[in-house]
Symmetry: C2
Subunit: 269 residues, 2 copies
Amino acid sequence: MTTHRASWLNGRVQRGEEELFSAFDPALLLGDGLFESLAVSLEAMPGLELHESRLRWAAARMHFVLEDGPNWGAVITQLLELAELEAGRARISLLGPAERPRLLFTVQELPEDLEEKRREGIRLWVSSFRMSPNDPVAGLKCLSRSFQLAAEREARGHGADDALLLGQHGELRECTRWNVFAQNPDDSLVTPTLTGAFLPGITRARLLALLPGLGLSCRERTLNFDELRPEMALFLSNAVYGLVPVRELNGEELTRPRGLDRLLQGLLS
Amino acid sequence: MTTHRASWLNGRVQRGEEELFSAFDPALLLGDGLFESLAVSLEAMPGLELHESRLRWAAARMHFVLEDGPNWGAVITQLLELAELEAGRARISLLGPAERPRLLFTVQELPEDLEEKRREGIRLWVSSFRMSPNDPVAGLKCLSRSFQLAAEREARGHGADDALLLGQHGELRECTRWNVFAQNPDDSLVTPTLTGAFLPGITRARLLALLPGLGLSCRERTLNFDELRPEMALFLSNAVYGLVPVRELNGEELTRPRGLDRLLQGLLS
């Protein structure tokens, strides 16, 4: 059986899933680390530089001493070839301790449900947990994902796929692994303004940059949950799946977003 | 060189720090797991049953399917002997995925600074981060410790050892690894009421149960930071260090708590 997985840990390259971390490893003991995750291929790695910048920004915020690393694209290409993959998902992790962090690249297959989710969409449940206005790690992708895991498990308990997370006053923030967009009946888009309290998504940023060229507009503004109307459609973005429609919210079927395929095509090209 | 460390992972026992986890391990990728940490010895493991109960309670909250495990005391004794330790610290972790969790015991030396911290005390800095009233994992010891790490790094940046964490309205909650007690000039004690928003410490509970027998009292109540007075002393509890005085708060020297040795002795006996 072939495992299409490969990793690079501080320069040590291997195919497969060999055990690399002890039970006393600080990254495992405390969730002390940061990561980026994105779709990659031998052809193109869109947004790769933006992911590298964001990891450096997050590292500075978490006081990680980050030396210049290797060329990310070259490492990922090497791992794709080793794993015998044309395309896949890459995760780049910076593992604690902060004074002497380790850089880890992993490459594996794209998620099995990627095409299905793009086509069929995602069912969301509004989490009963509210995001804090004052969480030092809320806008970072860190190895500490218990809040998100708890919200996702709550949502699954209600038959949904993922949780829609709100702020203390009901402001739309994000989903556990997605940024969120609303589409008005006139096709104009709205997305929550970055407040520092949720993830500044790379695909979110790329989409916002792409829209004017397509003759479309998106307003960034604070959007309250109770402003959502049945005639509005919702969709989500992340760097592995691209864009996916929201098909259900708290069990209610939603209007299907229009033109998602064209937006996704723009991101992929 | 001898490593006084040993581990038990789903029944697989070993001495040392062998690598046991791959780069694709869910516990490492997401901080998906729970743990307990306590001081143990071949003589006695005070509070062990309470730690086991708390782990089961936390597991239920995080939807971990937890089968009956081995006898904790027997496993820890085996690991202490394997590591050639009379006394040490044990950590019991429940690692994701939640549907099929793994149980991990580790044993290692007691922290090097244990005696020093009990004698000299700890310098605290009031964190600028406020704990959320609505965090599903705030009262759990989980592998996702980024919030605590960020607060601790902030405190260290101010020359302190650890952070004092407050709620949204300035209520005293806990430190990153400690519960907190205040001592009035008449030696009576106060500690924050458990609200579900911070850790229900085992040593905190054991101390509260012990006090009446020593003719001492402790009131559990909401205690605001601005109620603290220079004539009050502070001390901290956790299951590895026991009780330690707070020697400094935001750079100001504090009154030394009285009778801590006697309280600690009560916990240890």
